[in-house]
Symmetry: C2
DNA sequence: GTCAGTGCAAAAAATTTGCATTAAT
DNA sequence: ATTAATGCAAATTTTTTGCACTGAC
């Protein structure tokens, strides 16, 4: 990890959290992580998650019911397609979309600094299964 | 109110919540509402807020820090420009944006059922003040 | 008169904090 | 040696639940 490169210490708990995240088969909650890491303190897991988000290594995805899931991030700016059935989400980026968003902000005299976009529905697998 | 029209009872607590919401000068938290309505029970305020959201009379806006604000809704589908400085938000709708979102979903073989888009930045007033 | 809606207080989540201790650099 | 990072347990914050009671229709 490049944690040390940017002034953070590479500690056992942090490495453990990282590994658990990489091991995760899909989106997870903080509680999931805690369950995977019996030896690591609650606060540490929360603190590490926060750190990883700031480093853009982890993305936080709010669901429609208000709950939150996390998933390893590809790093670059992107949005999510969230499947209501299986709960998994796919990243995608769309420059045109981002441009249009900037235009909207400009039209309202708004100084845009960030945005978040989540699409909810059924992924190809679940959508097909549901219709069939 | 048309609550009764759709099978819900028009009760004093609900009317009180509605009035408090209409009185609100800007986005508010549940706690704000509770403070305005000493006579109304916690659970009732939460239940009424949930109801109003389902009726599209109230919109729920997640902020970047994970907290949530509410604001009376214009009813139709829209997005928000959230000001990081003053906390207020403006609604806007953009058919082109929605279309592009649908296209993205289609490209991923995703059956789109809903989406949420929040823009964060500085509103005209705060942006100008900040720069000046 | 019925049953949706309410209030209350307790329970359940979800997250943060304080602080003495540990360990990375 | 410094001091960032940790663990723990307690404190907050946010939302939900159970249930007897009230009041809209």
């Amino acid at each position: 990890m490049r944690l040390e490169t940017i002034g953070f210490r590479s500690t056992a708990p942090r490495r453990a959290v990282l590994q658990a995240i990489e091991r995760a088969p899909g989106p997870f909650t903080v509680e999931d992580l805690l369950g995977e890491l019996p030896g690591v303190g609650r606060a540490t897991v929360f603190r590490t998650i926060k750190l990883l988000q700031e480093l853009d290594l982890l993305c936080r995805v709010p669901l429609e019911d208000g709950s939150v899931r996390y998933q390893l991030s590809e790093g670059t700016h992107h949005h999510h397609l969230v499947c209501r059935a299986c709960g998994r989400f796919t990243e995608f980026a769309d420059l045109e979309l981002d441009t249009r968003i900037q235009e909207q902000a400009a039209q309202h005299g708004f100084h845009l600094q960030g945005h978040s976009l989540e699409l909810y529905g059924l992924c190809p697998e679940c959508g097909t299964a549901g219709v069939a």
